[in-house]
């Protein structure tokens, strides 16, 4: 019991003193996961919108695959990205393995299906007649897509949040492709794993508190979004 209380007290001391190493790790986590989310947003929303608004043979299979991808185990992604980036691997010449770039790639692979899956659902959940109404207002195809995306902006935002929440808290892929190099590829989750292993519970708890804070903010925004209603 003492261990926990002592750990929490020390953790708050670390946070209050703005420990540069802890803050550095938190900042890197935000940067890496933020960039990965940005990549997944660009790919996920554009492809997801296209899939949702068109019909083609095999659409159901594709949507099922995307939905499966929403629960992709990070270690599996870590494994395949490692193989691809391995010195002798197909993308070895990029020399990205054990760099923040590798983590961004792996996390993008994890977040993209999440954003895409939620985008498809969000676009398909818009009332069918909304599309007719926009076209009847004289919209071009491009204006139609833009207006539909604008109408679905809140569920899309939820998708982005879910994607970010997924990657900031994953550890498997980050540790495999990033290597947890101090001051370079050490992020909140990999650092927590390491410090716990070493028995430095105070540092581990401090890192966890920051991670929890991120998760809380994400979920607060999500809840807010989900409680809004569509107009009549």
């Amino acid at each position: 019991m003492d261990l926990i209380i002592e750990g929490i007290v020390k953790a708050f001391q670390l946070l209050a003193s703005l420990d540069p190493e802890v803050l550095g790790i938190a900042w890197l986590s935000l940067k890496v996961s933020g960039l990965a989310t940005l990549v997944s947003l660009v790919i996920g929303i554009s492809v997801g919108t296209m899939v949702a608004l068109t019909s083609f043979p095999g659409k159901k299979i594709l949507v099922s695959l995307v939905n499966t991808g929403m629960g992709l185990p990070p270690v599996v992604v870590g494994l395949f990205v490692s193989i691809l980036l391995w010195r002798n691997g197909p993308l070895g010449f990029l020399e990205l393995l054990y760099t923040p770039g590798a983590i961004i790639i792996a996390q993008s692979v994890i977040a993209t299906p999440i954003v895409m899956g939620i985008t498809i659902a969000a676009m398909q959940n818009l009332p069918a007649n909304l599309r007719l109404q926009i076209l009847a207002l004289g919209a071009t195809r491009f204006q139609l897509v833009w207006m539909l995306v604008k109408e679905a902006r809140l569920p899309l935002m939820a998708g982005v949040m879910a994607g970010f929440g997924g990657v900031i808290s994953e550890v498997g892929a980050s540790i495999m492709v990033g290597g947890n190099v101090r001051g370079y590829t050490r992020v909140l989750t990999t650092a927590t794993v390491m410090e716990t292993g070493r028995g430095n519970f105070d540092v581990a708890i401090a890192l966890s508190l920051i991670l929890l804070l991120f998760c809380f903010v994400i979920n607060y925004v999500l809840t807010h979004i989900q409680q809004r209603e569509r107009p009549r």
């Binding site: 207002l137 107009p231 009549r232």
Partner: protein, 366 residues
């Protein structure tokens, strides 16, 4: 009189869904300043017709012509769509402010900011929405949302406007005020309109042409009085109801007591029509009494006319008599009184109905 130009022509329009033909219109035209009511049961193809004109449905065959030119390219279809406004059954507002909603059609057309502002304000005011401009579309009542969708449609100042039952599920006063506002703008701007409606009196009041659809085909197309009084078949008769509808002109009105001239006869009615106004007098058959002797001294009914029975049809427990009083009139009598009065075809009788049984509807002019 100058022949009005057709704005829209449909030729051999056919639409299929799942291998079933759901619309088959050999020809249909909409003329300038015309107000057409489209009536028919659910699934008759009313909405399908509007959507196919807009090019929002794939046609199995046929063509749509806008001002004498066939719509063939995407560009010409878009050009035509931007001349038409369409109001759907649900308001389908965008998730933004009332102002932004009303401005949306203009933004799509790339209208300048200042022009958008002045037009949006004009139509917000016309639909009593001026004080709601900044309000979120999510916080509107059903009636308010309809008004916003009407303002959005009129703001683009269309040449034609299509309404797909836009007033369904609204209470009667709201419905009345909305149709009044809409009708006023349509007349003022000379917009041609097609209204899908289930409401007979709305069709009478607003339109100068009624088109009855059933099973994807036009079964009758004519003036409101022609369709309601002389339905071409059993289906239309059952669908439009059996009211007698007489076209007339108000002669005088003293404290709501109107005298209406119908086919050379005066009919007393209760209403607010002014002398010279064209009106429809609607009389339900169950309110028309038939007798052999002149009931003028025994009845409080103000309208008594000598008549002749021209047709007798069985309607289950009662009989439907078509009478000729110098104007057509329909009456229902029970089988008992039919037998008691010893009625037969060609029989001379008296038809009477009260002034309060006449339901006057102001007629659209021009």
């Amino acid at each position: 009189m100058k022949q009005p130009h057709s704005m829209l022509d449909l030729k051999d329009l056919k639409v299929d869904r799942g291998g079933v033909r759901i619309l088959d219109i050999p020809s249909f035209s909409l003329y300038e300043k015309e107000f057409v009511s489209l009536i028919g049961p659910n699934g008759a193809g009313k909405s399908t017709l509007l959507l196919s004109i807009m090019g929002l449905l794939k046609l199995a065959s046929g063509s749509v012509w806008y001002r004498g030119k066939e719509i063939q390219s995407d560009a010409s279809r878009l050009h035509m769509r931007r001349k038409i406004a369409m109001v759907l059954q649900e308001p389908m507002l965008f998730d933004s402010t009332v102002y932004e909603n009303v401005a949306s059609g203009l933004k799509i057309r790339g209208v300048g900011r200042a022009e958008i502002r002045s037009r949006v304000m004009t139509y917000l005011e016309r639909f009593n929405l001026a004080d709601m401009a900044g309000r979120s579309a999510r916080k509107l009542s059903g009636g308010e949302a309809r008004r916003v969708s009407l303002a959005r449609a009129f703001a683009v100042e269309p040449e034609m406007i299509f309404f797909d039952e836009p007033f369904a599920n609204l209470d009667a006063p709201t419905r009345q005020s909305l149709t009044d506002d809409m009708d006023k703008i349509i007349r003022e701007k000379g917009i041609a309109a097609i209204l899908v409606t289930h409401d007979q009196s709305e069709a009478l009041r607003l339109s100068n042409r009624v088109v009855v659809l059933n099973g994807g085909a036009v079964v009758q197309d004519g003036t409101p009085a022609a369709v309601m009084n002389s339905p071409v078949n059993e289906f239309v008769a059952n669908f439009v109801g059996m009211e007698t509808i007489l076209e007339g002109v108000v002669l005088s009105n003293v404290e709501q007591q109107m005298a209406v001239l119908v086919g050379g006869h005066e009919i007393d009615a209760i209403g607010s029509g002014l002398p010279g106004n064209a009106v429809y007098c609607c009389i339900r058959p169950e309110n028309v009494t038939v007798s052999i002797a002149n009931p003028a001294h025994k009845t409080s009914a103000r309208n008594v006319y000598p008549a002749r029975i021209v047709e007798i049809a069985s309607m289950g427990p009662f009989l439907r008599l078509k009478l000729d009083c110098g104007f057509p009139l329909t009456s229902y009598v029970t089988r008992e009184s039919f037998a008691a009065l010893a009625l037969s075809q060609g029989c001379a009788v008296y038809a009477s109905f009260k002034a309060t049984s006449v339901h006057p509807i102001g007629k659209r002019t021009g």
